[in-house]
C-alpha cells in the first residue's frame, strides 16, 4: 500500500499543468500592460491567468489533503517543464542544452520520488 495514492499524484500533476497555463497567460498579459491602472484592470489575459492559478491551487489543495508532502511537493517542479514548453511554443524562447538538462533532471527526480512512494 503506497502512502500517497495515485489520485493525489495525478491531482498535483494536473495542478502543475493548469498553473503553467496561468503563468503563460500572465506573461502574455504583462506584455500588454501600459503605464496606467486601467490597463491592469481591463487586461483579460491577466484575469484568465489568475483564474487558472486559482484552479491550479484548488487542485493542489485537494491533492495534498491525502498523501505525503515529501512525495507531492517536489512534484510541483513539473510545472517548470510545462512552462518551458509554453515558453518555446508561444514566446519563442530558445530551449538550450542547459535548460533541457535541467528539465530532464526534474523529470528523473519525479520518477525517483514515485519509486520512493511506499
Amino acid at each position: 500500500m503506497n502512502s500517497t495514492p495515485t489520485s493525489s499524484i495525478l491531482l498535483v500533476f494536473a495542478a502543475s499543468f493548469v498553473g503553467s497555463i496561468g503563468a503563460a497567460f500572465l506573461k502574455s498579459g504583462a506584455e500588454h500592460l501600459h503605464r496606467e491602472v486601467r490597463s491592469l484592470l481591463t487586461n483579460w489575459r491577466l484575469a484568465v491567468g489568475i483564474l487558472f492559478f486559482v484552479a491550479s491551487s484548488l487542485l493542489y489543495i485537494k491533492g495534498i489533503k491525502v498523501g505525503e508532502l515529501t512525495v507531492l511537493y517536489p512534484m510541483v517542479s513539473l510545472g517548470y517543464v510545462w512552462t518551458m514548453f509554453w515558453s518555446r511554443l508561444f514566446f519563442r524562447e530558445p530551449l538550450t542544452g542547459g535548460k533541457f538538462l535541467g528539465l530532464s533532471l526534474i523529470g528523473l527526480g519525479i520518477v525517483f520520488l514515485a519509486l520512493g512512494n511506499r
Binding site: 491551487s57 505525503e68 511537493y73 542547459g98 535541467g102 520520488l113
Partner: protein, 134 residues
C-alpha cells in the same frame, strides 16, 4: 526605499541582499506548504466552490495562502536585484525545508529513493535557473 536604492547602487550588496531575501522566501514558502497541508486535514469540501470557501474559513489554509503570497511578492523583489542564475539554486532549498518539516511535523518517512528524487529535482531546478541566464 533609501535602503533599497543604496543596495542597488552597490552590486555586491545588491547580490547579498537578494540572496538573503530569497533565503527568507524559501523559509516562508516552506511554512506556507506545511500550513496548507495542515489546513486540508479534516476538511470535507468536494466541490471547487466549497473548497474555495473553506480557504477563508480555515485559519491554517488562510495563513498558508497569505504566507505563500508574501513569499512570492518578496521573490519578485529579490529577482529585481539579483540574477536568476544565482537565486534559483537557493530557491531549491524550499523543497529541502518542506521535506524536512514534513518528517518532523507530520511524521512522514524518508527513504533512499525519496532523497535521491529530492536531490535530483533540486539540481534540475538549479541548472534550469543557470541556463535561463540572459
Amino acid at each position: 526605499m533609501s535602503f533599497l536604492d543604496k543596495a542597488k547602487a552597490d552590486p555586491v550588496k545588491a547580490r547579498l541582499f537578494s540572496i538573503c531575501l530569497v533565503f527568507v522566501c524559501t523559509l516562508l514558502g516552506a511554512a506556507a506548504q506545511i500550513l496548507m497541508k495542515g489546513g486540508t486535514q479534516g476538511q470535507a469540501a468536494d466541490t471547487p466552490l466549497a473548497l474555495f470557501l473553506e480557504i477563508f474559513s480555515s485559519p491554517q489554509l488562510f495563513a498558508g495562502y497569505a504566507l505563500y503570497g508574501i513569499s512570492t511578492m518578496l521573490l519578485v523583489v529579490a529577482l529585481k536585484y539579483g540574477e536568476l542564475s544565482i537565486l534559483y539554486p537557493v530557491i531549491g532549498l524550499t523543497y529541502v525545508w518542506v521535506c524536512g518539516l514534513s518528517v518532523l511535523i507530520y511524521g512522514e518517512r524518508l527513504n533512499p529513493w525519496k532523497i535521491l528524487g529530492l536531490c535530483t529535482v533540486v539540481a534540475g531546478v538549479a541548472i534550469l535557473g543557470r541556463a535561463s541566464r540572459k
